[in-house]
Amino acid sequence: MTSWTGELSLDLEDRKGKTVARNVFFQGAFKVMRPIYHDDTGKVCYYLLNPGGGYLDGDRYRMKVTANKGAKVTLTTQSATKVYKTPKGYAYQETDIVLEKGSYLEFLPDPLIAYENARYLQKNTIRMESGAIFLYTDILTPGWSPSGKKFSYHTVQLVNKIYFDGKLAVFDHIKLSPGKQDISGLGFMEGYSHIGSMIVIGEQTNAELLDELYEIILSQGADMKYGLSELVISGLSIRILANSTQVIERIIFECRRLIHEKWFGMTPNSLRKY
């Protein structure tokens, strides 16, 4: 299997304090828009888009991003990832990200919306060197069906692997098959419809940061459930169950803001797209 529905590769480097592309390549149903510099830090922001409008039966997407030494990059999508029904074969996306020493990469895709009878497998593999900082978020919605029924998709499977200095340090595997599980019940979504995750890896992670993030999440006062915890390496993960994309996005934005303020001494721009 070597044919990809869409392929994208980005190789980024720091050139005198400004992150620029050494190489950009994309083909098929995967595109990247012109780089945007939201502020004067030299950090580049790329918006990824799927000109086809969504993932179909048997579609296969591949993305490779390399942040070379000192590069600073925000990756996001232009809109939600939509996976339509897949009667024959599941839709698949794999992402490989490399972070060299001193680089910062944040990958903040829009929510995933899986339609009725959709099957989707996503694999993210991150290889980072110590001294790099990585921030990742994702939001999984209950999907969409014509009748308005929630969780009508077949399967959504998300796998994140993070290697730190060559050793596997994080393995995160969520697989929701609403037809086979009591998806709203105890242990699963517990009455909520949306799940958000955030993974942050950076040497500056400490107990104080976790306490502050905890306070921030609590202060949102929204109807949600959450958990946050330190990883095996310097870093943390957060999970949020809520009833809307907006609640999770707000929490993620506030947590990201705190981390940017503490680690980079500045407030991040919003990634307003609409």
Binding site: K167, L168, A169, V170, F171, D172, H173, I174, K175, Q181, G185, L186, G187, F188, M189, E190, I195, Y214, K225, Y226, G227, L228, S229, E230, L231, V232, S237, R239, L241
Partner: protein
Amino acid sequence: MNKNLLSLFQICDSGLPTGAFSHSFGLESYIQVDIVKDQKTFFEWLRVYVHDQLIYTDGLVCRLVYEALEQQNFQEIWEWDRMLMVQNLPRETREGTQMIGDRLLKIAQSLYDFPVLALYRDRIDKKKAFAHPSIVFTMIAYGLQVSKEDAILYYLYSASSSLVQNAVRAIPLGQTAGIMITHKFHPELQLAMKKIMQLTENDFGIVSPGLELSQMHHERVNIRIFMS
């Protein structure tokens, strides 16, 4: 019951000083908010915990490590040791499991001289491995020549019976209720074992969001009798 099965049965005893007594693996978070409050709700929690978390982690690794032992493929065992550690995102549950694994290994080494136990200990001492109870348990079961299916089943029994004991104390439930739950849970364990036999490596580490989140949230539970 043959002599070796009896030996493995001793390792399943919830009174074994592994520290499992101090870990609820997120159950206490549910007890605090009154979601788990009686025999029925605890049974449901245990069912989800075993079928939607334990089989994909400890249970599957039991089988894979048993198969690796058959092939004398130790490298694979050390890889599963790391996998189990890094997939366990909630810190308390991860550290608790590691502690239980370490103590179980100590107990195992005092009873048996299977060479693989010493290999595991050596790697742990050199910080090349973490220690996990399901791996230690499988090493003992394999050494005792217990079948793969029984090794998995007895491991699941051991993990669930210590949780029943903890639930009896924490909810609290009467001792009789505890016995009833354990008894009623036997078919679930059989079913879980059969599922594990059908899984592939690609199923490793699947977590149920709610369970995992409650294990993370336990860090922020104020009054607690368990360390996880």
